[in-house]
Symmetry: C2
Subunit: 272 residues, 2 copies
């Protein structure tokens, strides 16, 4: 099957669930629900939930076991984009060609829409997952987005906004601001499938490498970060090396890993 077509179908399935989980725009207080939906449905590729779902599948888990957590991950990704775009942070007016949340709804509503998406994400997992598995998913996700994860990466990124980035700091930012949530996504897929420790560890590492490669490809497209510091040639080689390393980790799953490997290749070749 064509991987792009496959991913498009999966994205539609995820979008349907996100639509069900998000409060209606007609529900009071409307302004906040409108703002939440605006950012969630503004053209994301759903890479992280797709990775969670495919990681669950490669461990012989079912879609329904992972779908709530996968949606929660996308809500958390959306919250992080809204807050990162704020004037006090990266001060971006546009994202994916559309005005950013604070441009449309004002700063206060944008901050609160992010806060509410974060709360909703944990609510979905707590409601839909059962017992120990749900708690393990929440533990992993809350760690991935805290100060030793996404927020930690963002704060260091901001600190170095107008300073020269050294390689160590750049690696830290890529690892924690971007890659940590990829790692959580693949790991949560494995947790949802109740897979073995060995499979979980392999998928976590797969997510880590894929996430760093994803960020480097982003930098190549934008001629920023990694590509700016190390040059285009090195950036291309490094992203390719990481994707090969990531795919190698999936060999323990045998032929079941075909889709995840194709997704890894897709990350490398995407242009936006």
């Amino acid at each position: 099957m064509n991987i792009k077509y496959y991913l498009k179908n999966l994205k539609d399935r995820i979008d349907k669930s996100l639509d069900e989980y998000l409060p209606s725009e007609k529900a009071y207080p409307k302004a906040i629900h409108w703002a939440m939906r605006y950012s969630v449905f503004s053209g994301g590729k759903r890479m992280r939930p797709i990775l969670a779902i495919e990681s669950c599948k490669v461990c012989k888990g079912r879609l329904k076991d992972v779908l709530p957590a996968a949606c929660a991950i996308e809500l958390i990704h959306t919250y992080s984009l809204i807050h990162d775009d704020l004037p006090a942070m990266d001060d971006d007016d546009y994202r994916r060609g559309k005005p950013t949340s604070h441009k449309v709804f004002g700063e206060a509503n944008a901050i609160l829409a992010g806060d509410a998406l974060l709360a909703l994400a944990f609510n979905i997992i707590a409601k839909e997952a059962n017992g120990r598995r749900g708690l393990e998913v929440i533990r992993e996700l809350s760690e991935a987005i805290g100060t030793r994860g996404m927020v930690g990466g963002q704060i260091v990124d901001l600190e170095f906004k107008n300073k020269k980035l050294d390689k160590k700091t750049l690696n830290y930012i890529n690892r924690f601001k971007t890659s940590r949530l990829f790692e959580a996504s693949t790991k949560i897929g494995a947790i949802a499938a109740q897979s073995s420790k060995k499979e979980k560890a392999a998928l976590a590492k797969f997510g880590t490498y894929l996430g760093i490669a994803f960020q480097i490809v982003d930098d190549i497209i934008d001629e920023e970060g990694y590509a700016k510091i190390f040059g285009m040639g090195k950036a291309r080689r490094e992203s390719k090396r990481l994707i090969e390393k990531a795919k190698g980790l999936l060999n323990i799953f045998g032929s079941r890993s075909t889709t995840l490997k194709e997704i890894a290749d897709y990350v490398l070749t995407r242009t936006r």
Copy 2:
């Protein structure tokens, strides 16, 4: 025992745990950990965690069963204060006589400190609580702070910032911006104690009334909100009425409810 002395002791116990849960100021990235600690340790009364603990005790639960969740509630309360104080929101320079987070650390770090406290709160519960009980706590807490809870109250509060408040809207704001987290605190105490449905419901209602009374007393002190719209006399009578109603709900617990009732009286008479 003198209730003020009792509450001071309990506050010290909570502060000790908060200190243990919060990452060290020396841990990388330092700036964010410093900002988180600054706001958590800036003179809060720990009303919400105290209510969670005493609600657990009144249901014959143990301190250690509720302490992690009680601390998580205080972290969430702190996150909400940091974000509410932001220039885009209430734009407050001081809180409890100290400069607000964004005044000390800048807006970006204040936003991220709030985000990180929220993530840490759920991480603590997921790590410390076991099985179904932990998930029920997270479900309750994440609902209480979402768009049908605290964030919902804050967004309506902001909408009416420069408009004349009607009684219905004021009640909505008090109920959701303030009282909903009180309700979650008392309810979580009951959940942690694995108490009966009946006791849980009584404590939830107790928290609701107490929370609204707490907000009205705040308004009396600041000559704002309820006191401004209804007048001082009506505000005093209404807060007293709510406290009596709240205390009445505790009669099912017999003599075990003495401390919670004293706390309710304390809320009524506090001056700050």
